[in-house]
């Protein structure tokens, strides 16, 4: 029998898909470099690398949730909660650093797990459950910190400092590793395969003899866990535990996921393309800032890019369907 070359069109097409996102990002860089002579510099990229790790992790978790046809509106609040738990453990309770880190991660994962568990067992749409958690987790972080920003005196600060010689911080490297790991899990493992299948048609998955509750709860726990790491990164960058950290971040994360071409209907998506979505949003903001655009202008343009990217994606899919339909007709003839 011939070697299965049929794997290659699949691999090739996904490479092509990353390539188009990469091309958009490079295009943005070229555009801003032409418009501003200060843009193309090590400092710009170093500051990008320092800014995006938290959003990258939150958006990566969001990608998994959206692939199962769910949504998680609470990730911004969970990020804030994790930072607050970390701050209060370290400063308020005087716990050692590793324990404070673990507590923050547990708090985030637990909040995510609760999201998933309630949504799955009580059959409440994840939109509503996580909308509730958005308030609950935010409220808890105010309670934990007494609504005060806590200064950490350099704890975890080294994570966000650029490594000498490369100019990028540890947080960025960790974020990249996690993105690659999640993409691998999504495309190569049984768990990932099931997430995509559940997002496509949960009924069919159940009738194929697969219990869907476990994976559906797990993605929310993972999203919570990743948001908690994001919270620690955020804390490390600011040097303080801010109960207001991550307000509105869920929307940036959803935007990154959508720009990356993940379907809000579930069943299709890529963590790597979400990462490119994050890069595009961050580059756009930093480029516009360097051009001297005001905050309101930045927001208008960013919003337009989100809608444009999503429309482009829909249009591309339609085109593909049309082309395939045409080929099919040719073959049948």
């Amino acid at each position: 029998m011939k070697k299965p070359t049929q794997n290659s069109p699949f691999a090739l097409s996904s490479l092509k898909e990353y390539a188009s996102m990469l091309a958009i990002w490079i295009g943005l860089i070229i555009l801003f470099s032409l418009l501003s002579d200060r843009f193309f510099s090590a400092a710009t990229f170093s500051s990008l690398a320092n800014q995006i790790p938290a959003l990258t992790l939150v958006a990566a978790g969001m990608t998994l949730v959206i692939i199962t046809a769910g949504i998680d509106l609470s990730v911004g609040s969970i990020l804030g909660l994790a930072g607050s738990v970390f701050g209060i453990s370290l400063l308020g309770w005087g716990l050692p650093l590793p324990l404070a880190v673990i507590l923050a991660l547990v708090a985030g994962s637990l909040a995510g797990w609760v999201n998933g568990w309630i949504s799955v067992s009580w059959r409440v749409p994840s939109f509503i459950v996580t909308l509730g958690m958005l308030e609950i987790a935010r409220g808890l972080s105010y309670l934990a910190t007494d609504s005060q920003t806590m200064y950490l005196n350099g704890a975890l600060g080294s994570l966000s400092r650029p490594i000498a010689g490369i100019g990028i911080p540890v947080t960025f490297i960790v974020a990249i590793i996690i993105v690659i790991l999640l993409q691998f899990i999504l495309s190569r493992t049984v768990f990932g395969r099931r997430l995509i299948a559940i997002g496509t048609n949960e009924q069919a998955v159940t009738l194929a003899g697969i219990r869907t509750q476990g994976p559906r709860v797990a993605v929310f726990a993972i999203a919570g866990f990743l948001a908690a790491i994001g919270g620690l990164f955020y804390t490390s960058r600011l040097g303080s535990a801010d109960p207001n950290a991550g307000v509105g971040l869920e929307l940036s994360a959803i935007a990154a996921v959508v720009i990356g071409g993940t379907s809000l209907m579930g069943g299709r998506g890529s963590v790597i393309n979400t990462f490119f979505g994050v890069l595009i949003i961050a580059t756009l903001e930093s480029g516009l800032a360097q051009l001297g655009a005001s905050e309101p202008v930045k927001r208008v343009i960013t919003g337009a890019v989100i809608v444009g990217a999503a429309s482009l994606d829909a249009w591309r899919n339609q085109l593909q369907g049309g082309a395939l339909g045409f080929l099919k007709k040719l073959v049948q003839r």
Partner: protein, 473 residues
Amino acid sequence: MGSNGAGKSTLAKILCGLTPRNSGDIVFNNVPHSPVSKQDASSAGIVIVMQELNIIPTLSIAQNLYFHDLPTTRFGIIDRARLHSDAQEALARVKLGHLNPNLTAETLGVGQQQLLEIAAALTQDCKLLILDEPTAALTDPEIETLFEQIKQLTAQGVAILYVSHRMEEIRRISDRVTVMRDGRRISTYDTKDVDQKTLVREMAGKEIWSTSHTPSDLSEAPVTLEVRKLANPPLVQDLSLKLRKGEILGIAGLVGSGRTECLQTIFGATPADSGEILVNGSSVSIKHPSDAVRLGIGMIPEDRKSEGLLLSQSIRANATLASHDTFSSLGLIDQTKETLETQSACGGFSVKHDHSEQAVQELSGGNQQKIVLIRWILRDSEILLLDEPTRGVDVAAKESIYTSLRELAAKGKSILIVSSELLELMTLCDRILAFSGGQVVQEFTPDNWSQEAITEAAFKAYLEPTIDKAPNK
């Protein structure tokens, strides 16, 4: 008539303004007809009942019936009283008069929803009624009702364009028959002058013959699946049956007789309230489909698109969905193994496809159904529960599915198959059980089965309660 993909539905859609035409003219009642929308066509007097259900599940039956033209009061508010009485009348016409028009349409079964659509079409004043595969989801008595309606309409001078690939229906109700193939008209005959063989030959473009089947007497073979007094009210009551190794056992019954629910209960999709299921002689507990799959049971659900397939996913992902454990180690999927086995299974079942990464939504209905079947072959399930496996599948693909099922049975798989087409069961099965009221009312073997006898059995039990009630009145 014509097999799948012949262009029948497209023609119907063009006539109703649902699809634009590229060239050519339509003349309707000596007037050029070029509808741009469904409303346009219906105001010209052409009304369609489409193959796919078009009802709005969350609206009431009455609102669905008159959705095109809801009666309103002077202030633009829906006139509920008039709607209600009109709806009752429309429902009575298709013998659904016992239904409350205020129920939401989603509470109806598929067959009743289909009748509801036909009733909705009949509420419009039409000169040409197009029925596209109207009986696909209907049971025999429902079909009778439909045919009565058709006769009445034709008597009133309404022309009917009836699209179907069911030979016996065409022979019964049509005056003339046109065969389409590959988007062209092949021929038109007066129905009474043409024999079945000619029509089938022209539809297929090549000779199709039913592979002859000799049912086997398997009464000595070991029982692989036994069900004792299974109950899952309201549709499954006190159900007992035995399925033997290598046997194809048919279940015949009307829609609502509990035949689908029987399969779903055995499979754990709707776990049983009481009763016992035995697999290979030992009592088992099936609370979820995963329990059934672990015990070697596989099911092909009635609606392959909504319950069986991941339409946007590849053939490979669909084929291996039930056997992730055999295609992975330590949670990592072995894609090479997946591809190889999917390809060889697709070859074995002669699935028409380009490559195993193709999305299943690009395949035809028959080939899609084969992918669901392959899913359980790759899983190596010993017991297969099939619910209407050839629904919406053309003649050639049906034959191919029949051949596959017989081969599977010959290899020792046990197959339990539900079908509305008695001929299908009689060409395929070694035994047939007539189902009614959630239980087996009669068992048929090749010596004593006939379409009439099985239909009678399925009906008799159905009518008994009303006969009992009659004297009480």
